[in-house]
Amino acid sequence: MIGGGGSPEKYQTLPGGSYTPPNGDRGSKILAPLKAEGARGVTIAVASTVVVFGLLVFAILNSSGWPQIKEAFFDPEVFWDSLGKIMARFGRNVFIFVVAEVFVLILALIIAVTRSLRGPVFTPLRILAAAYTDLFRAVPTILVILLFGFGAPALQIKGVPHSDLFWAIVALVLVYSAYVAEVYRAGIQSVHPSQVASARALGLSRGKTMRFVVVPQAVRRVLPPLLNDFIGLQKDSALIAVLGYTEALREAQIISAANFDFTPFVALALIYIVITIPEARFVDWLVARDQRRLQAVGGV
């Protein structure tokens, strides 16, 4: 019976000598110096923060144009009046980007895996996949939406939907799948070749190796860029407005034009901030949890 190996607390020395603590600190580096400096450091940090931001605020408040800016961008009456309506319309944006994201994540993975296929017989597929990503990253998103949203119904083909919602989601899915496919591809390529070798050595087929070993690791490695693209998609959901469909941004524009006031846009910006920040923290948490596992196991 073999005795147990080294104790679990034993830190691993990677070849090259770099040191990885078992629970890597992926937290914010902004406050890191504070922890090092102690109480005095904290006082200085607080003081300098108050001074700098205080100066900024003072400068803004006392600029000559401030009263007009305040009225045009931060009008409380317009704000409260528009917030409810914009939030109601925002539900449409949510529908668009949630549905689109689901399809994007799937389609992009298919494209990325297709591009990674080896073997000469797959050449036409690889060419198609590469051409797809080139094309849809090249054409501006708004153009794609216009082309599909106005062009498809204009063809007057029986059975082709006329719905703005449908074509906007289709356009967004096509465009964003091109970007996300490249993100996946980077993730796939970042998985160490020995992982593939280990899986193939067990006798797993290429397909199963992809499915069980490569893709799960690849996706975990690219969560931050995936979130980036999702945030971009959330904002681009507003582009459906060019088709005449009233979503949150268009609603803000309508109220803004009616009142000759920009405050509705500030309200919308706040809504976006409120949803985006938790998403970012959630992904940070996911990444921190997986980083530990994925990074600590490299060299043996």
Partner: protein
Amino acid sequence: MAPAAALRIEDLHKSFDQLEVLRGIDLEVDEHEVVGLIGASGSGKSTLLRCINLLEPVNAGRVFIEGDEITARGVDVNRIRQRVGIVFQAFNLFPHMSVLRNVTLGPIEALGASKADAEALATDLLERFGLADKRDDYPDRLSGGQQQRVAIVRALAMKPDVMLLDEVTSALDPELVAEVLNVIRELAAGGMTMVIATHEMGFARDIAHRICFLDEGVILEEGTPEQIFSQPRQERTQRFLESIIEAGRM
């Protein structure tokens, strides 16, 4: 009639682009035999092992496992690999899976075993090698030595005919090496056919039935450990062994 050798290699050639790394390897390994592969870095040890389970395609020559030619056309590569277990120096375990899942993945997905059977076998093997309490841990919680032991268990779970070990202790801290070597010792004692590429000369001398010295793509010299380590015939073998002694590894 003599049974087919567990492993037979005939005039194996392998090049990477213009560089010929293996220049005609001939090797026969009998069942239950343990062969130690020694040689300088770059001599082709890793490449040779990777050719045996077709992780590297072969340029010329033939390889036979239990009498079946695996370098023949139309051979099912995946099936071959299921019969040959290999453990690498590093990056072995799948970091996103628990130890148990690492071990059962091959049997379930490649051999078609049921989950229950695979887990039973895995648990049994892990217990045998002192890793039972790590069953549900993820690899990042394991020391290097534990990870390599799991990697060996994972290969064993496929019930291979031959085990290939490619410098499996070279990246480990010295104090973790022993536990891995003990596992290998046990395998050898149990009669597993193995080809072990290693720098651990003392260990090789202990458990190998035969030592092959690989130099510049050919097996320059082979013989029993006593022959090789005490009375090497070739000058280059001699020089290699001297450099090893100087480095304090023997």
